[in-house]
Symmetry: C2
DNA sequence: CGGGACGTTGACGGTCGTCAAAATTAGTGG
DNA sequence: CCACTAATTTTGACGACCGTCAACGTCCCG
C-alpha cells in the first residue's frame, strides 16, 4: 500500500491557504523581495495583529536570505553569533558536542521555526545547525531585532515568547530522556513531528523522515539499532507502516496509549 | 574526618567580598529596603556597568520579596504567569510532570539565579518550583521588566542573555541524559554544583546536597538506588567522601576523568 | 553496475531498574 | 528530652531493557 501512496509532506487541500512554497518563485534571487509583511510563514514566526506601520518596521528585521545545501551548516559551535535565523524552507537539526567527542542532537527544526538562540549568552554559538535537506533561511541580525523590539512592543513580546517556547520544549525533551522507555520515546517523537507538520498543512498520518535512524537515536537517547527495532515493533503491532523514511501512522490512539498507558482497574 | 568538618556551604574567607547573607538582617520585612542597586547579589542577576540613573530605574523591577518555606512552591504548573523570580537565599528545584504522573526534575536553582521563564510563552507556568530549603526571592513583574528593558538597553540585553543561558544549560542536560552513563552523570552533576557554589564563595571541594537521592535521580534520569550505588562506588574509589548529604570531593581530576575518559595510546 | 551510506535483524552481555530488607536519620508529639 | 514513626539511604539479588557486535539487505548515486 505504502508504495503507491501520494508523496507526503505536501500540503493537504484542506490547508491550501497555508503553503510553504517560496513566494515569487521565478524572480531572481538578487532582486527577490525580502519582506515579512507578505510572507506566507508570517503567522508562524512573527507576531499577529500588527498595524501596517508596525509591519513596515518588522520587515527590517530580515536583512537577507541564505540558502544552505543539504549537509551544510548554518552555523557551528564556536562561531560568532550575529543573527537569528527563521527557516523558510527545508529541515535542520541542531546538535551539541561534548569535549570528548560525544554528540547529541538537541532538536529538529522546520519551516517557520527560529534557530540561533543559543548564541546570545556568550556572543558565540554553542551548537551546530545542519541542514538535513536543501534549505533557505531568513537572516535576522540580532542587534536589529533588539533595536526594533524596543519600539514595537509586539515584537518584544514575540521574541520573549520564542525563547520561552524553546525552554519549555527542552523541558519536554528532558522529561522524555529522563523517564521514558524506548517505545514511549519513539511514539512521542512521531506524534510531535506529525503534529508540527499538520500545523503547516501536511497530513496528520503520513510523514517523511528527513533524518537518519542514527540522528533519531541521538535525539532520543537511543542507539540506531534500538530505533530500528522499535519501528519494527510498531509495524508488527499494526500501529504504523514504515518504508524506509516514509512513515504512515495507522493508529494514532495506539501511539498515544503507549505514551499514556491506560490504567487497568 | 567528615564528621568534624567545618559546616560547608558557608563562604570561604577568600571570597568574603561576596556574601549571600541578607542585607539589613534586623529590619522588619515590611520596611525592608527592596533595591537591586545595593544588593550583594547584583553581579549575579543584574547587568554590570550601569550608570547610576540606570541603576535607579533597575530598582523598580523588583516589586517585592517573597519567602517560601521548605517544601513550599513558588509557582505551580498551570498557574498564571506574572513575574520572574530571582533567588536571594535558599535552594529550589523545578520539575515538570507528564499527563500520566511521571515527574522529572529539570533543574536545581541557587542564589542569584532566575526562575519562571517557562511561563512567558503561554502566560501560564508549565512547571513547579519547589523550595528545598527556606528561601527568599525577589519578585519581578514581567510587564515591568519588559517596560524597563525598552528604556535600558543593558537590561534588555541581560534578559535575553538569561533566557539564552537557560537554553544552553538545558542543551547540556540533554547531552547528559542522552549519552552518558550513570557514573558520568553523577560526576557531571557534582562538578556543576560545586562550580556554581564556588562562584558564590563556597568551597570548591565540599558541599551539602539540598536534595534527596530520588531528586538527584530524577534530574539525572536514574533511579535513587543507582544514585546511591554510584556514590558508594566513588567512595570506594577514593574520589569523594559522603556522609548523608555532606559530600567532600577528594579528587576533582578523577571526577573530570570520568567525564572525559583519557585516550589510551 | 558497483560502491557506499543507510537500515534491519540476530545473539549476547552489561548497565541499570525492580523488589525487598535493613540501617540510619529526621521529624513529631508527648 | 525522649520515644516513636516516617522518611531517606544503603545494600543485595535478580531480571529487563537496551547497547554492542556482527552479518546481511536495501537504496541511492555516480
Amino acid at each position: 500500500m505504502l508504495e503507491h501512496a501520494t508523496p507526503t509532506n505536501k500540503p493537504e487541500d484542506a490547508h491550501a491557504s497555508i503553503t510553504i512554497t517560496p513566494v515569487g518563485g521565478a524572480v531572481s534571487p538578487h532582486t527577490m523581495k525580502v519582506a515579512c509583511s507578505n510572507c506566507n510563514l508570517r503567522e508562524l514566526c512573527m507576531p499577529l495583529g500588527l498595524s501596517s506601520a508596525e509591519l513596515d518596521k518588522i520587515d527590517d528585521v530580515v536583512a537577507s536570505r541564505r540558502k544552505v545545501k543539504r549537509g551544510g551548516t548554518l552555523f557551528r559551535n564556536g562561531e560568532k553569533f550575529t543573527s537569528l535565523y527563521a527557516i523558510r524552507t527545508g529541515f535542520f537539526k541542531t546538535c551539541v558536542a561534548s569535549e570528548d567527542g560525544r554528540d547529541q542532537v538537541t532538536g529538529f527544526q522546520m519551516a517557520g521555526e527560529v534557530m540561533g538562540l543559543d548564541g546570545i549568552v556568550h556572543d558565540h554559538h554553542t551548537c551546530d545547525a545542519v541542514a538535513l535537506e536543501d534549505a533557505e533561511v531568513c537572516v535576522m541580525p540580532f542587534d536589529r531585532i533588539e533595536e526594533l523590539s524596543r519600539e514595537v512592543n509586539a515584537l518584544q513580546r514575540h521574541v520573549h515568547k520564542i525563547m520561552s517556547r524553546e525552554i519549555v520544549r527542552e523541558n519536554g525533551v528532558m522529561l522524555l530522556l529522563g523517564s521514558m522507555r524506548a517505545e514511549e520515546r519513539l511514539a512521542a517523537f512521531l506524534l510531535n513531528l506529525v503534529q508540527r507538520l499538520h500545523a503547516r498543512g501536511f497530513s496528520q498520518s503520513e510523514l517523511v523522515l528527513r533524518m537518519t535512524r542514527e540522528e533519531i537515536g541521538s535525539y532520543l537517547g537511543l542507539k540506531l539499532e534500538t530505533v530500528s527495532r522499535t519501528f519494527s515493533k510498531f509495524v508488527e503491532d499494526g500501529i504504523v507502516e514504515v518504508k524506509q523514511r516514509h512513515v504512515r501512522i495507522l493508529n494514532t490512539d495506539a501511539l498515544k496509549d503507549i505514551l499514556n498507558p491506560k490504567v487497568c482497574n
